[in-house]
């Protein structure tokens, strides 16, 4: 997902080794239809990420962010 581009959440699928993640991600706002945006990456390694979800900003690991399936939004829509 490219930096600063908006997308909308399709679904959250937790990996088998961390099934509790889907609930946790939902609680902090990763719910279907919610708007998300990648705001930045840490250096070195590009992990963790700064993610805007709805009105809030969260730091997520790449592995955590990978659970969230998104669909790109048109830039014009914003």
């Amino acid at each position: 997902m490219p930096l600063r581009e908006s997308a909308s959440v399709l679904e959250v699928n937790a990996p088998p080794y961390a099934p509790e993640w889907s609930g946790w991600l939902a609680e902090i706002g990763f719910l279907p239809g919610e708007r998300v945006q990648l705001l930045g990456r840490a250096v070195p390694g590009g992990d963790p990420l700064v993610v805007r979800v709805g009105d809030s900003t969260f730091a997520l690991r790449v592995a955590e962010a990978a659970c969230v399936q998104v669909q790109p939004l048109q830039v014009a829509e914003r």
């Binding site: 939902a26 705001l39 070195p44 963790p48 700064v50 009105d55 730091a59 997520l60 690991r61």
Partner: protein, 630 residues
């Protein structure tokens, strides 16, 4: 923060503040109750419990409970469990609240309102405090409180916790009898209520925001601009290092004057008492034991206050989670997550709140490792020892550009603690991590101007806790040590200092055999015994030992030059190294026991820290000797 469980069952209905983390709940609590707060623990768990009192405009006395922040009523940490238990009326020793005040951040309605709906379903009378409404308006989010209230079926009032009159509407609301009764949920909200599936509430909140015209996501311009600098790949880490360095410089530089006053006051008190009393046991007890011991600990209060001040400032402004973000990668390399940063940073003030703060780490292994290495962070109790030795052995001069050599050495000692902790964590990673799943998922709240009032209240609570320790365990130990150092009295015609003939002298000499390979003399060995109970006691113990073996009466002022004269540089360095890993104080061990639920972990921590301290001191001493520091 190791106070006993407090139960206040005084009159007045009980209100509970509930809200997401970072919604301004505690600021609202501070605004409502001011200084009328009691900080303690919930029964059976070590979650911090804050209760305060205030009164409604009509003069009704009310009790207010500040519940830990929660994202939902499906708890994922002990803190969130407490919130849920109290709200359900299941918490041991807690009354179920008569009224819940749901605090929502007006800039984060989307996430905050889900919790309101869940709380409302619990069947308690409930009102909503629409907090930070002023900030929301600046961002173009205008919330119609009345319309929101109609949607939720709850009374909604606007609050601005940062303004003195910002809670007037809430106070007035509490005089209306109808808010104290449970209000029925509107139909469409009640139907979407599956407790296990937050999507039901999500849809309800969406509907509400749509109807209020708040469905658009508003950009956070100011916070994003700051984040572009603070979280910048290159500038961010440099800024963090600079901030931490300035904090430690300030701890040393600003504390100098007040420390001088406390020293002078201690000396004056000692002289005044000495002038009133005849030479003898009582005078020796009061002047050398009580006043010198207490003064030697109190003198470090300014440094502790300054360090806590900066930690609170960073916490209030919203910078701390950013620092955790920046450090996540480094922490990851030793098998921890950025979440461990906040407990570890708190440990710089005191390991006990640090160990307690480790509760926010969901992963049990990470939590345990964080607890085990927290005592390696240079807590403020070590500052007295460092400060004493640095002022005695490190010349006071500027190295470059206003940076003092003494400050630099102190910074080095802090760094040594961090590096040691990282090494231990790395070792534990090799031994225990295996295939580990670590969770970060940490909120980066919007930046806020820190409020002087919140910082003042937070600071006062921490000072009280420190003083209680001085008043309790430290005082008892100091007096016990004075007794050890005074009895038995030296035989008639003895030539050496009196302490050499005492029980303490005998014990110290026995221990000195053990500590001789790392360069400690018997005076240090004596001081280390009570120092195991609480680190800062080592200084007052040294003061007692040296005041008693010196001829003069005043202890605080003469200690540093005395040490400079009496100890070799290698010994001083070795003692500094010892204290980098210093076996922890008893209260830290007790905190570890409480948090891990077993003495085994506390025992492991004590054993490994002692071995580490001995090894570090041994290497330092031998290297210093080889380089001619003897």
């Amino acid at each position: 923060m190791n106070e006993a469980v407090v139960h206040i069952h005084r009159g007045g209905p009980l209100l509970a503040l509930v809200g997401n983390p970072n919604c301004g709940k505690t600021a609202l609590f501070n605004r409502l109750t001011g200084s009328r707060q009691k900080v303690g623990n919930y029964a059976g768990v070590t979650v911090e419990r804050k209760e305060g009192q205030f009164s409604s405009p009509a003069g009704r006395a009310l009790r207010l409970l500040d519940l830990p922040g929660a994202y939902s009523l499906n708890p994922r940490s002990p803190d969130e469990s407490v919130t849920v238990d109290v709200l359900r009326g299941n918490a041991r020793g807690e009354k179920r609240p008569d009224l819940v005040v749901c605090v929502v951040d007006a800039t984060q309605l989307r996430r905050n309102l889900r919790l309101v709906l869940a709380v409302k379903r619990l069947g308690l009378p409930c009102v909503v405090a629409l907090n930070m409404a002023d900030l929301a308006e600046k961002r173009g989010i205008v919330v119609d409180a009345e319309a929101l209230g109609r949607e939720l079926g709850l009374t909604v009032v606007r609050t601005v916790a940062v303004r003195p009159d910002g809670t007037d509407a809430l106070r007035e609301l509490l005089d209306q009898p109808e808010v104290w009764h449970y209000q029925r949920l509107p139909g469409d909200v009640r139907d979407l209520a599956p407790e296990v599936d937050p999507r039901g509430d999500h849809a309800a909140v969406h509907g509400i925001l749509d109807r209020l015209g708040l469905a658009e996501v508003a950009p956070h311009l100011a916070s994003d601009r700051i984040d572009r600098v603070v979280l910048h790949p290159l500038v961010g880490p440099l800024l963090l290092a600079l901030i931490l360095f300035l904090v430690f410089q300030a701890v040393f530089a600003w504390a100098e004057a007040p420390m001088g006053w406390i020293e002078a006051a201690t000396a004056a008190a000692g002289e005044a008492v000495a002038a009133q009393l005849p030479q003898g046991l009582l005078r020796s007890f009061l002047v050398d034991g009580l006043i010198a011991g207490l003064g030697g600990v109190l003198v470090f209060l300014p440094q502790i206050v300054i360090l806590f001040f900066f930690i609170l400032l960073l916490e209030e402004s919203g910078y701390l989670p950013r620092a955790a973000f920046l450090l996540d990668r480094i922490m990851g390399s030793v098998g921890l997550s950025g979440r461990s940063f906040i407990p570890l940073l708190s440990s710089f003030a005191c390991a006990i709140p640090g160990i307690m703060a480790a509760r926010t780490i969901a992963n049990p292994r990470d939590r345990l490792v964080t607890i085990l290495i927290a005592p390696l962070m240079t807590c403020s109790a070590r500052l007295p020892v460092y400060a004493l030795l640095i002022s005695a052995f490190v010349p006071q001069r500027e190295v470059w550009g206003g940076v003092e050599l003494q400050g630099l050495v102190l910074f080095g000692l802090y760094l040594a603690g961090i590096v040691t902790a990282m090494a231990v964590a790395w070792l534990l990673k090799l031994l225990t991590a295996g295939r580990q799943v670590r969770t970060l998922m940490m909120e980066l709240p919007s930046y806020h101007w820190p409020q002087a009032r919140n910082i003042a209240i937070g600071l006062w609570q921490r000072v009280k806790i420190f003083l209680r320790r001085v008043g309790g365990i430290i005082l008892v130990l100091t007096v016990a040590l004075w007794a050890l150092a005074s009895f038995p009295a030296p035989p008639e015609g003895a030539t050496g200092p009196a302490v050499a003939y005492s029980l303490a002298g005998t014990l110290g000499r026995a221990l000195a055999l053990l500590f001789e390979p790392i360069g400690f003399n018997w005076q240090i060995s004596i001081a280390l015994v009570p120092g195991l109970a609480a680190r800062e006691v080592a200084v007052s113990a040294l003061a007692t030992v040296y005041a008693l073996s010196a001829t003069g009466d005043d202890a605080a002022g003469v200690l540093a030059p005395l040490l400079a004269q009496d100890w070799s540089l290698a010994t001083a360095l070795s003692l500094l190294a010892w204290f980098v890993a210093a076996p922890m104080c008893l209260s830290t061990l007790a905190a570890i026991k409480r948090e891990t639920g077993s003495w085994k972990m506390a025992g492991i921590a004590a054993a490994y820290l002692t071995a580490l301290a001995y090894a570090l001191a041994f290497v330092t001493y031998r290297v210093a000797l080889a380089l001619g520091g003897g």
